[in-house]
C-alpha cells in the first residue's frame, strides 16, 4: 500500500525525521493562507498523487490531452519537453501559491509513471522553500538476497537510483542491518561519511538515519525513499520528498496506516476485488482471465499473449475460493468494458472444480453473460465441475488444456472485436 507525500512526511515527523514545514490543502484559498503563515521568501506547491516524476510531469485539463502529452513527451526517454506547467512549482507570493494550487486542483497530472491516463490532483502540499546546498539520496528497503533490510544512500540526489546504479555504482553506499541488533551508529556514520557530510554534522546525520530506520521497522515499510535528501546552506539534513510503501501483509497490525489509504488512487475494480480478498489487476487487453494461484494467473496472461491475444486483467481467486467469491470475481472481470471474451483457467488443488463451476454458473445467470466464455478445468473434483457446466445450459466453450483454452479465447475475442 502506498500513501501520499504529505502523509509520509507526517509519519516521518513523528519519528523525528526532519521534514520541511507545510500543510496539505484542498483549495486555492487555503493554499494562500498556508503560504502566508509559512512566511518564507518562496513556498513550494506540490501536487499530491501516488506517482513519481511530478516535477517533470504536465498538468492538463482532460484525458485526451493527457494521452497526447504522454505519448509525445513522457512515454520514454529522449522525447522533446512539453510546454505545460509541471506538478511541482515554486511560488514567490501567497497569491501566486493560491494561483498555482488552483491550476493543479481538479486537473490531471500526467507523468512518466502515471501512464497515458494521468491522475486527478485532489490535494496539494504547500511547503516552506529551503536553501538547498546539495541534493542526496537515501532509501531503506528489503534486500531479498540476504533476507535483511538495507539502508542505501547516494550523492546523486534527485536522480532515479536505478540510473545511478547503472552509470556510477561507486556513488552508492549500502549498509545491511542485522535484525538482532538494528541499525548501529557505526553503520550510520559510514553512510554519512560516504555522503561527505561535514564532520560537525555527522551526529545529526546518524540521528536522521536511525530515526528513518525506526520509522521503517515500526511501520512495517517495504520501501522508504527520500529523494532528494537535501543538505541546506546551514548544513542541516532535510527530507525534501518522501515516499513510503507499506507491506500489505503487515497492515493487519497497523490500523493507523490502513486509514491513510486513498481510494481515489486505486482502480475501482481493484478496490472491489480487494474487498472480497481477490487479487485483481486491471490491464489494457480484451481477454478477461480468472485463474487460481498467482503463478498460474501470470502464466495464463503469458499464454494468451503467446497466442496473439492481450489479457484484460490479472485475477487470482486464490486457493480456498467459495462460490460467492468466484461469482464476485467473474462480475468484476465482466465490468471491464474492454473485455470481449473470458478465459477461466483452473487447476484445482485446494480449490475444487465443482465449487468454481457453481460460482461461474451462478454469476453468469445473475449478470447475463453475452460474450464468449472459455473454461478449462483440471484437478480436484474435475468431473463434477465439468458436469455442472454441461448441465447449466449456458453456452460455454471447453478448453481441453491450457493452450487449447487460450487459443479458443483469443479466437473468440477476435471474432467479437
Amino acid at each position: 500500500m502506498n500513501v501520499h507525500e504529505y502523509q509520509a512526511k507526517a509519519l516521518l515527523r513523528k519519528y523525528g525525521v526532519p521534514v520541511p514545514r507545510g500543510s496539505k490543502v484542498g483549495s486555492a484559498e487555503e493554499a494562500e493562507a498556508v503560504a502566508r503563515e509559512l512566511a518564507t521568501p518562496v513556498v513550494v506547491v506540490k501536487s499530491q498523487i501516488h506517482a513519481g516524476g511530478r516535477g517533470a510531469g504536465a498538468l492538463v485539463a482532460d484525458s485526451e490531452e493527457a494521452a497526447r502529452v504522454f505519448e509525445s513527451h513522457l512515454a520514454r526517454e529522449g522525447l522533446p519537453k512539453h510546454d505545460k506547467p509541471g506538478g511541482v512549482r515554486l511560488a514567490k507570493t501567497p497569491e501566486q501559491a493560491g494561483e498555482f494550487a488552483a491550476s493543479m486542483l481538479g486537473n490531471l497530472l500526467v507523468t512518466r509513471q502515471t501512464g497515458p491516463s494521468g491522475r486527478e490532483v485532489r490535494q496539494v502540499l504547500i511547503e516552506e522553500g529551503c536553501d538547498i546546498a546539495r541534493e542526496l539520496y537515501l532509501s531503506m528497503l528489503l534486500d531479498r538476497s540476504t533476507g535483511r533490510n538495507l539502508l542505501m544512500a547516494s550523492t546523486e540526489g534527485g536522480m532515479e537510483i536505478e540510473k545511478v546504479a547503472e552509470e556510477s555504482p561507486e556513488k552508492i553506499f549500502r549498509v545491511s542491518v542485522d535484525p538482532a541488533v538494528g541499525l548501529r551508529d557505526f553503520q550510520a556514520r559510514r553512510l554519512a561519511f560516504g555522503l561527505q557530510i561535514p564532520a560537525e554534522k555527522i551526529g545529526d546525520a546518524v540521528k536522521f538515519f536511525k530515526a528513518l530506520y525506526h520509522a521503517y521497522v515500526d511501520l512495517d515499510g517495504s520501501l522508504l525513499e527520500i529523494n532528494p535528501l537535501v543538505q541546506t546552506g546551514a548544513g542541516d539534513l532535510l527530507a525534501l520528498d518522501a515516499k513510503i510503501s507499506f507491506d500489505d501483509n503487515a497492515l493487519f497490525r497497523h490500523p493507523e496506516v490502513r486509514e491513510l489509504r486513498d481510494e481515489n488512487e486505486e482502480d475501482p475494480k481493484e478496490r472491489r476485488a480487494a474487498e472480497f480478498d481477490l487479487s485483481y489487476i486491471a490491464l489494457d487487453g480484451n481477454i478477461g482471465c480468472m485463474v487460481n494461484g498467482a503463478g498460474l494467473a501470470m502464466a495464463t496472461m503469458d499464454i494468451i499473449h503467446h497466442h496473439g491475444g492481450e489479457p484484460a486483467n490479472f485475477c487470482d481467486v486464490g486457493g480456498g475460493a467459495t462460490t460467492e467469491k468466484v461469482a464476485e470475481a467473474f462480475k468484476i472481470i465482466l465490468s471491464d468494458r474492454n473485455v470481449q471474451a473470458v478465459f477461466i483457467n483452473i487447476f484445482g488443488g485446494i480449490m475444487q472444480c465443482d465449487v468454481l463451476a457453481q460460482g461461474v454458473v451462478e454469476a453468469s445467470k445473475q449478470v447475463g453473460v453475452t460474450i464468449p466464455l472459455v473454461v478449462r478445468l483440471e484437478g480436484t473434483n474435475v468431473e463434477q465441475g465439468k458436469k455442472i457446466i454441461a448441465e447449466s445450459g449456458l453456452d460455454i466453450i471447453t478448453g481441453l488444456d491450457m493452450a487449447d483454452g487460450a487459443k479458443k479465447a483469443v479466437e473468440a475475442a477476435r471474432a467479437a472485436a
Binding site: Q113, L142, R144, S145, G147, R148, N149, E160, I161, E162, D178, P179, A180, V217, D220, S222, D247, D248, N249, A250, F252, R253, S279, I281, L283, V291, N292, G293, A294, G295, L296, A297, M298, A299, T300, M301, D302, I303, I304, H305, H306, P311, F314, D316, G319, G320, F347, G348, G349, I350, E378, G379, T380, D401, M402, A403, A406
Partner: protein, 290 residues
C-alpha cells in the same frame, strides 16, 4: 530415491484449524506418517487418532517427528517456524500465506543459528510421489519417477507435474519454494540437493518475475549442475510496479523482469519453455539433448 522427504518421514502438524485438519487428512490418505499435531492448551487430547501436544518439543520427544508442516495464520506463523526450529526439527514446511516480511527477516536470522531447513512460506509444500506428501498439492496428479520439480508458484507446479505425468514422466521430489520475497529454501539450495540425489535425472525449475533468484540459479547451474535443467518464467506480460498476487512477484525499477531471467537461463544453456503449455515437452527435450 528422493530428496528431503521419504516414506520414513514422521510429520507433525502445527496449526490444526480447518485448513490444517483438511490437509492432515489428505496427507495421511496419501500415505504420509502424520503422527502428531500441536495446539497449545490442547495437549493430551487427540484428533481423529492423531495425538495433540502443547509444544513442538513434546511432539519431537514423544513421536520422534522429523518434519513439521505449518498452517498457523500469519500473525503467529513466524513464531511457529521458530518453535519448530528450536525443537530441532530438520525440515520445516510453512504453507501459510501472508506473513509480514519483517517477521521473515527475523525468522531467517533465527534459522541461521539452527540446523533446520525451511521450505516456504506461502508455498504448496513438498511431495515425494508414491512415498509421502507434506502440503496442499493434489496427490493424484503425481507419479513416481526421476524428475525433480522446483517452483515459486503453487498451481503452476501442478500444471508442470500434470504435463509431465501425461507424458509418462514421473517425479522424484517436487518442491514449492514459495512466492514471498524471503523464503527458506531457494532454487540454488534445492538444485544442489537434486544434483547429489542419485534418484533424480533432470530438473524443471519454474520461476516468476521479481528478485533475481533465477539469475543466481542460472549462474549456479552453469558452474555446478551435472544434470539437464529446463525452466519456465511466469510474468512476461506483467506490467512494472504491480504486485502480481505473490508478494515477491513485482517488477521494481525495471529489475526482475521475465526477459532478464530468460536471458540469464538461456545464457547458462538451460532450455526455457516458450509457453506454460510446453513445460513437460521442454523438459523431455532437455533430457534427450543431454
Amino acid at each position: 530415491m528422493s530428496i528431503l522427504l521419504s516414506a520414513k518421514s514422521r510429520v507433525v502438524t502445527q496449526g490444526l484449524g480447518g485448513t490444517g485438519k483438511f490437509h492432515l487428512k489428505g496427507c495421511r490418505e496419501y500415505g504420509t506418517q502424520m503422527v502428531a499435531a500441536v495446539r497449545p492448551g490442547k495437549g493430551g487430547s487427540e484428533w481423529e487418532g492423531v495425538p495433540i501436544y502443547d509444544t513442538v518439543a513434546d511432539a519431537v520427544e514423544k513421536q520422534g517427528v522429523d518434519v513439521s508442516v505449518i498452517y498457523v495464520p500469519p500473525p503467529g506463523a513466524a513464531d511457529a517456524i521458530m518453535e519448530a526450529a528450536d525443537a530441532g526439527i530438520p525440515l520445516i514446511v510453512c504453507i501459510t500465506e501472508g506473513i509480514p516480511a519483517a517477521d521473515m527477516v527475523e525468522v531467517k536470522r533465527f534459522l541461521d543459528s539452527s540446523g533446520s531447513r525451511l521450505i516456504g512460506p506461502n508455498c504448496p509444500g513438498i511431495i515425494t510421489p508414491g512415498q509421502a506428501k507434506v502440503g496442499i498439492m493434489p496427490g493424484y496428479i503425481h507419479q513416481p519417477g526421476t524428475v525433480g520439480v522446483i517452483s515459486r508458484s503453487g498451481t503452476l507446479t501442478y500444471e508442470a507435474v500434470h504435463q509431465l505425468t501425461q507424458l509418462g514422466v514421473g517425479q522424484s521430489t517436487c518442491i514449492g519454494i514459495g512466492g514471498d520475497p524471503i523464503i527458506g529454501t531457494g532454487f540454488v539450495d534445492a538444485l544442489a540437493l537434486y544434483n547429489e540425489d542419485p534418484g533424480t535425472e533432470a530438473v524443471i525449475m519454474i520461476g516468476e518475475i521479481g528478485g533475481n533468484a533465477e539469475q543466481e540459479a542460472a549462474a549456479w547451474i552453469k558452474e555446478n549442475m551435472n544434470k539437464p535443467v529446463a525452466a519456465f518464467i511466469a510474468g512476461k506480460t506483467a506490467p512494472p510496479g504491480k504486485r502480481m498476487g505473490h508478494a515477491g512477484a513485482i517488477i521494481s525499477g525495471g529489475k526482475g523482469t521475465a526477459e532478464e531471467k530468460i536471458e540469464a537461463l538461456e545464457g547458462a544453456g538451460i532450455k526455457v519453455a516458450p509457453s506454460p503449455a510446453e513445460l513437460g515437452v521442454t523438459l523431455v527435450a532437455a533430457m534427450k539433448a543431454a
